[in-house]
């Protein structure tokens, strides 16, 4: 039975070590405090709310898409994404952007929009006549 344990053990051990190393290399942390996002040098996944009042801008010439995001404390930052407006963006409420804060902007590599659940959406948008 030795061969079985040598083969199995060595392969699993090698890949666990490799995985541990790559995990730390590719690790991206979630951040919901923009004060921290703005000071760190690392790539993060910033989660926050799209500031709908400030809408968004599409710059056709430079092919960038930008908008403002706010965290729970009300800190706002401008997000610039090299690309076009993501599908579903206009109905988004919560946004997760992956990237780095540099030179006064958050440069996003990836945007993920979370649409509000059906009940939530209506509660916030309704007001009695």
């Amino acid at each position: 039975m030795k061969n079985k344990y040598i083969f199995g053990g060595v392969i699993i051990a090698v890949f666990l070590v490799l995985m541990g190393y790559l995990f730390t290399q590719s690790n991206i942390e979630y951040a919901d405090d923009f004060a921290k996002v703005m000071t760190t040098q690392k790539t993060v996944k910033a989660t926050g709310i799209w500031v709908k009042e400030k809408s968004y801008q599409l710059d056709n010439k430079n092919k960038t898409f930008s908008f403002f995001m706010a965290d729970e404390n009300g800190n706002q930052m401008k997000v610039i994404y090299e690309g076009t407006i993501p599908n579903n963006f206009e109905s988004a409420k919560n946004v997760v952007v992956t990237g780095k804060y540099q030179n006064g902007y958050f440069h996003a590599k990836d945007i993920l929009t979370k649409c509000p659940s059906k009940y939530e959406e209506q509660k916030t948008s309704s007001s009695s006549l």
Binding site: S55, Q57, N60, N94, V96, S117, K118, Y119, S127, L129
Partner: protein, 805 residues
């Protein structure tokens, strides 16, 4: 009401069936028939409830929350399949689908088990535990698809209400249920039990009152997306069976027969699950427009993990079955029990990841947070099956003696298959760790998965070839070299050609190509030798050829994919990868709901036509883009639309921006703020007179504020644009378009005396991302061939499963 009652009765039948089967296992002979009757009763009731769910969807009974939330009248016009697929459009329905398919699998399993000795009571007692949990899931306490819309007060859009009842003179009570959103002017009616009772007093049923639903996300309206869930859930349902067999074996403390009996189920289940996973990938490729079929998204990953573990199990199950000939229960008995348990537990974990809301921030697909109770119930579901499975193995650990003295030799198929299992499990662990990381506030970049899988794939493909060349128990080295020489030389030649002519230079990719080609040639060689008269033996080789082709497709389409963003000016030829692309125009399709962008593609004497699609969807009030794919034999050309500029008024080549009221931008150190929208005079508009509208902007340069108002005038139907200028700031701003709904304005900013004022042609521009995907067809073909292999093997193993030792 009917649906909920049927499901509740089905739940009690499932529990009765479970108890009766268990009692029969404990020695009560006369309870077997009760167990069977209760099971079939349960399955019939589940089928009836499912038919009823389809019935209320097809007859648009919007008094049901599920029907209102996931279907609408328009779906009928798109075809019955689209409407019918609302069944699994939401969370409740997808649990229902899973339950339905599990119940049907159970009917087949009952018949299968009843013909194989005393297997039935044990297997069915475990299986009905799974149906019981699923039935609790869709019961009125959790994710019930038959919940009435007013159970939780819902705001229904005014357009979805029958307008003949929207008369507060006749129905004054409606006033207090009417709401409106001031920013969008959207009206809602709050549908609550209070309203329903007032409506019924007035003699109106909810079904008459609500006449349309929300519908489905347009991206789900795709053939592949409609057949993907039923196939995936069939795989999930079939994964229950090996679990049940493993527990049944542990209950009896007999580990010989279960291997043969579970084997065809494992093969069929993993074949179906593999196909289901691929269809999801194909949908992403065809619909989502990011050019790929696999994004290591948690939803994709979570169904891949049980598949990898199941496939790992297939390899060691084969060893155990073979080595039983040496006497005893065979090699890797504990491993196999554990892998069969784990496959189903990981199916449940997959459901937990995607439906409990834990990955809320990590995936586009994840369903929304279903609430604490559902979360806890899912944890209980997984926990029960994990504890049952692992607990039983631990309980029987000492009696699980393989009684094998002889060690596997280094060059034995046993050891090669064991190593293959280990490598597949390593892959599963990697994906599991990466996918679960968001639960702990971490996440990994996709390169984590890619980098880890290249070495794994190299080993897997090497073993894939080697394990078929070496023999059970012992292999003669000289014979091995003799047999492998053709395949090895072929693989080396193939790789050299790749390096010389396709410019492959990355060492890992060279190694991967080498081992993949090796595996391909070994399997082809053997397959060709045995194909005559022995078709049923081909399964493994066909499956392995499929995997090798799949990997070649993955290498070609991902490593050698090229991508470029091009602006296609209407009528002007642009070029990408040696293809000439000409945007020739735009035309409406599907009753003017979508726009197709016609692009002529030319290379040499070949002419093709591609039409990416864009449209604004009412469902989520967003722009939806659909790519166009030109599938050639050796490559796909992929056009993903980015945006469309109508041109027309764009007669300065200034800087064009789109601003919404209140927002601001920087233009070369000058700040522009869109202060407010200058409304047109409605009275003038109605009477057909001249209308003027525009934007009031605050411009700040060097600390000084200016107020300007570029305008659009409509004079007798003709548009006239009046730019505004600030000489001190050397700035000219023209408004070229104002969106009616949200007053977003397109502004063209330029310098008064710059070199950018040369008038430009009125141009329509389509921006696209063009990419080329070499050999992507091999990805689909590889998976399909692999699945065929699974089924050929299943047919062979099904015959063997009838033997009782």
């Amino acid at each position: 009401m009917i649906g909920s009652i049927v499901l509740t009765i089905a739940l009690s039948f499932s529990i009765i069936s479970m108890i009766m089967y268990f009692l029969n296992y404990r020695g009560y002979k006369n309870t077997l028939n009760y167990g069977r009757i209760a099971y079939h009763g349960m399955a019939m009731l589940v089928i009836i409830a499912s038919v009823f769910l389809w019935y209320i969807i097809l007859t648009h009974q919007y008094q049901y929350d599920y029907v209102y939330s996931y279907s609408n009248n328009a779906l009928r016009n798109l075809g019955l399949l689209h409407l019918a697929s609302s069944f699994w459009g939401g969370q409740q329905g997808s649990f229902m689908l899973w339950l339905l398919l599990t119940s049907i699998v159970g009917i087949i399993l009952q018949s299968y088990a009843s013909k194989r000795g005393d297997l039935e009571p044990r297997v069915m007692a475990v299986f009905t535990l799974a149906t019981t949990f699923l039935l609790v899931m869709v019961s009125p306490w959790f994710k019930n698809p038959f919940e009435y819309i007013w159970a939780t007060p819902v705001f229904v859009k005014i357009e979805h209400i029958n307008s003949q009842f929207l008369n507060t003179n006749i129905y004054p009570f409606l006033q207090s249920f009417f709401f409106s959103d001031q920013s969008t002017n959207q009206g809602f009616i709050q549908v609550s039990s209070d309203l329903v009772s007032k409506l019924s007093q007035a003699g109106i049923s909810v079904n008459q009152f609500i006449i349309d639903g929300r519908g489905l996300n347009p991206q789900l309206l795709n053939f592949w997306m409609q057949i993907h869930p039923p196939i995936l859930f069939s795989g999930f349902a079939m994964a229950t069976v090996p679990f049940a067999f493993a527990i049944a074996a542990l209950m009896k403390n007999d580990y010989r027969d279960w291997v043969r009996q579970a084997f065809p189920w494992m093969l069929a289940g993993m074949g179906v699950l593999g196909l289901g996973i691929m269809l999801g990938g194909y949908w992403a490729y065809e619909m989502l427009g990011w050019g790929g079929y696999w994004a290591w998204d948690p939803v994709e990953n979570s169904s891949l993990i049980p598949w990898l573990v199941g496939v790992a199990g297939i390899h060691t199950l084969l060893v155990q079955k073979r080595s039983q000939a040496e006497g005893g229960i065979g090699r890797y008995a504990k491993t196999n029990l554990f892998l069969c348990v784990l496959t189903y537990v990981l199916v449940l974990y997959s459901t937990f990841l995607t439906r409990s809301g834990v990955l809320g921030d990590a995936s586009v697909h994840s369903f929304v947070d279903p609430g604490m109770f559902v979360y806890l119930f899912l944890v209980l579901f997984i926990g029960t099956f994990l504890v049952l499975g692992v607990g039983m193995i631990a309980f029987r650990w000492k009696t699980l003696n393989e009684n094998i003295v002889e060690e596997e030799s280094l060059l034995s198929r046993e050891l090669a298959l064991f190593t293959a299992m280990i490598v597949l499990i390593a892959s599963a662990i990697i994906i599991l760790v990466g996918t679960s990381a968001p639960i702990f506030g971490q996440s990994v970049d996709t390169f984590f998965y890619n980098e880890m899988h290249v070495p794994l794939a190299i080993i897997i493909m090497f073993l894939n070839g080697l394990s078929l060349l070496i023999k059970w128990r012992k292999t003669d080295t000289r014979e091995l070299i003799k047999q492998s020489i053709i395949s090895t030389v072929g693989a080396v030649l193939f790789t050299v050609i790749l390096i010389l002519f396709a410019g492959v230079s990355d060492l890992m990719i060279i190694l991967l190509s080498l081992t993949t080609a090796f595996s391909l040639f070994v399997n082809l060689d053997i397959a060709i030798k045995i194909v005559r008269g022995n078709f049923k033996m081909l399964g493994a080789y066909v499956a392995h050829i499929g995997i090798a082709l799949f990997l070649l497709g993955v290498i070609g389409s991902s490593v050698y994919s090229q991508e470029v963003t091009v602006d296609l000016v209407k009528g002007k030829q642009a070029s990408a990868f040696g293809y000439d692309l000409t945007f020739t125009g735009i035309y409406p399709i599907e009753n003017n709901t979508k726009y197709a962008f016609n692009v002529d593609v030319k290379k040499g004497n070949s002419n093709y036509n591609m039409t990416p699609i864009m449209y604004r969807s009412d469902f989520n009030n967003s722009i939806v883009r659909e790519p166009a794919i030109l599938s050639l034999l050796t490559k796909d050309i992929y056009l993903s639309p980015l945006g469309y500029d109508e041109g027309g008024v764009d007669h300065t080549s200034g800087h064009k921006v789109t601003l919404s009221p209140g927002s601001e931008i920087d233009y070369e150190g000058i700040k522009l703020k869109y202060e407010e929208f200058i409304k047109p005079d409605m009275a003038a508009m109605m009477s057909g007179g001249d209308v003027e509208m525009g934007t009031k902007l605050i411009v700040t340069k060097d600390g000084k504020d200016y107020e300007i108002s570029p305008l659009i005038k409509i004079k007798s139907g003709q548009f006239e644009y009046t730019p505004a200028e600030i000489e001190e700031a050397n700035l000219k701003v023209e408004v070229s378009k104002i969106e009616q709904s949200n007053h977003n304005a397109d502004l063209i900013i330029s310098k008064i005396n710059g070199d950018n004022t040369t008038p430009n042609q009125s141009n329509e521009i389509l921006s696209v991302t063009a990419s080329i995907k070499p050999f992507v067809n091999l990805v689909w073909a590889g998976v399909v061939i692999m699945v065929v292999g699974f089924f050929i093997s299943m047919a062979r193993r099904l015959k063997e499963s009838r033997v009782i030792s």
